[in-house]
Symmetry: C2
Subunit: 227 residues, 2 copies
DNA sequence: TACGTTATGGACGATCCATTCCACAATCGA
DNA sequence: TCGATTGTGGAATGGATCGTCCATAACGTA
């Protein structure tokens, strides 16, 4: 009956995300988004509501993607490779931050920093995302403990929180200007200091212990990876 | 000869900082600052230039304070207490983030996230600050290594980068909504996993090893601590 | 083919905001 | 005391921005 949409909603959301990612919430004008998506104001407002709702949708999608990337890297594998999966994930995050030459940072961090204080929706979604990542990390740590790669007496919850903090911290110090090589070293060091099972000695942090599943930086424009 | 200023510049900058801290750069109107400082527009612009210059000044002061807090906590003490100083610093940072009930976050992180990409001054200053913190941490780690509290074969540069990442990461995950208790645990865990000298076994992360110089949260409105 | 319905996109209105301007006040030296 | 100089604060300005509105276009159905 009605006239169908002439644009691809998915693609429009991607363009909008690019824009919000590049210039933040307050720094993005609806005209920018109209130009970026090629849509007129009428279509924009008709399809997505106002600026706030559009951002919420973009932010929500981003958070989902962040967790999906972690799930793809971390879940579903033998315990014997759990430590390698953790290593791969940390290095992926470091590589993504390092490859962000435009220093856009991560929309999750950016949006949270800008809006969490005054926007309950953003605050809630970012908290949810952190909790989800925490759970994924904890499960992998437990798996590595079962296989004897991590000290089984350590609290997996605490180690997970530490690794999450390192991941988010890499994002922060990367945006603050630390060198790409430093970011990679941080991921290495974080993995190296994880407590080993009793009986073996803890190796110094510059030992390249874990099987480094050499992870190249994902495409620069692939947002979820840069979480 | 001329008429002297009727306001205290230092105090005006503090009020301006409160405002930028609370609502970010783009989210702060010059009217807000005028109201917060009690100054008229004429005085404001006459004394500090435009909004950008005012923010740069506030941001610069904040960065200086952040480094000063770290210096106060970390430098100048016997090697025997270096690890305790590191512990105190990490716990101070965690406590400050935890006590930020308004979730304002840290102006350094907020300003960097919002502006570093497009403002070279902010980008440069935040990079400088990170480097300065890195140096302070590295020196303390070296001191702890000399005293035998940290494995002397570990690379102090890498451990320093890891600790800096943890500090900044605590800020990030705290703003993202993780519980205050979790933040404290992260600081504990980060200290617990630091490599011990060979001969002793690494203790599991839930061991409360380092002398926890019980640091209460600083006053909520004391900005530098929350770095 | 004609009509009802929704999409489209650019013009428009109202608001907001950074900055300037100006009339006046206060100080100090002469 | 007087004047030159700077501080003060609020009104005015110019530009930008969000969201709405509307005339028109495109589709499916009868």
């Amino acid at each position: 009956m009605p006239r169908p949409r002439a644009f691809d909603e998915r693609q429009a959301l991607e363009r909008a995300r690019e824009q919000f990612w590049a210039t933040g919430y307050a720094g993005t004008r609806m005209d920018d988004i109209a130009r970026a998506t090629g849509l007129g104001k009428g279509s924009l407002y008709g399809a997505f509501g106002d600026k706030g709702r559009l951002f919420h949708r973009v932010f929500d999608d981003w958070c989902t993607a962040v967790v999906e990337v972690a799930e793809g890297r971390l879940t579903g594998g033998p315990d014997a490779e759990a430590l390698a999966r953790l290593s791969g994930y940390l290095h992926l995050m470091a590589a993504n931050t390092a490859s962000d030459t435009e220093r856009r940072g991560c929309l999750l961090a950016k949006g949270t920093a800008e809006l969490a204080q005054h926007d309950p929706t953003v605050a809630g979604r970012s908290a949810e995302t952190m909790t989800a990542l925490l759970t994924l990390l904890r499960m992998e740590i437990s798996a590595a403990q079962r296989h004897g790669d991590i000290d089984s007496t350590a609290d997996p919850e605490r180690l997970a929180a530490l690794l999450l903090t390192v991941v988010r911290g890499i994002e922060a110090v990367g945006k603050a200007g630390l060198a790409p090589e430093t970011l990679r070293n941080i991921a290495d060091t974080a993995l190296a200091v994880l407590p080993r099972p009793k009986g073996r000695n803890a190796s110094p942090p510059d030992a390249d212990r874990p099987a480094r599943t050499n992870v190249g930086p994902s495409r620069p424009h692939d947002p979820p990876g840069s979480a």
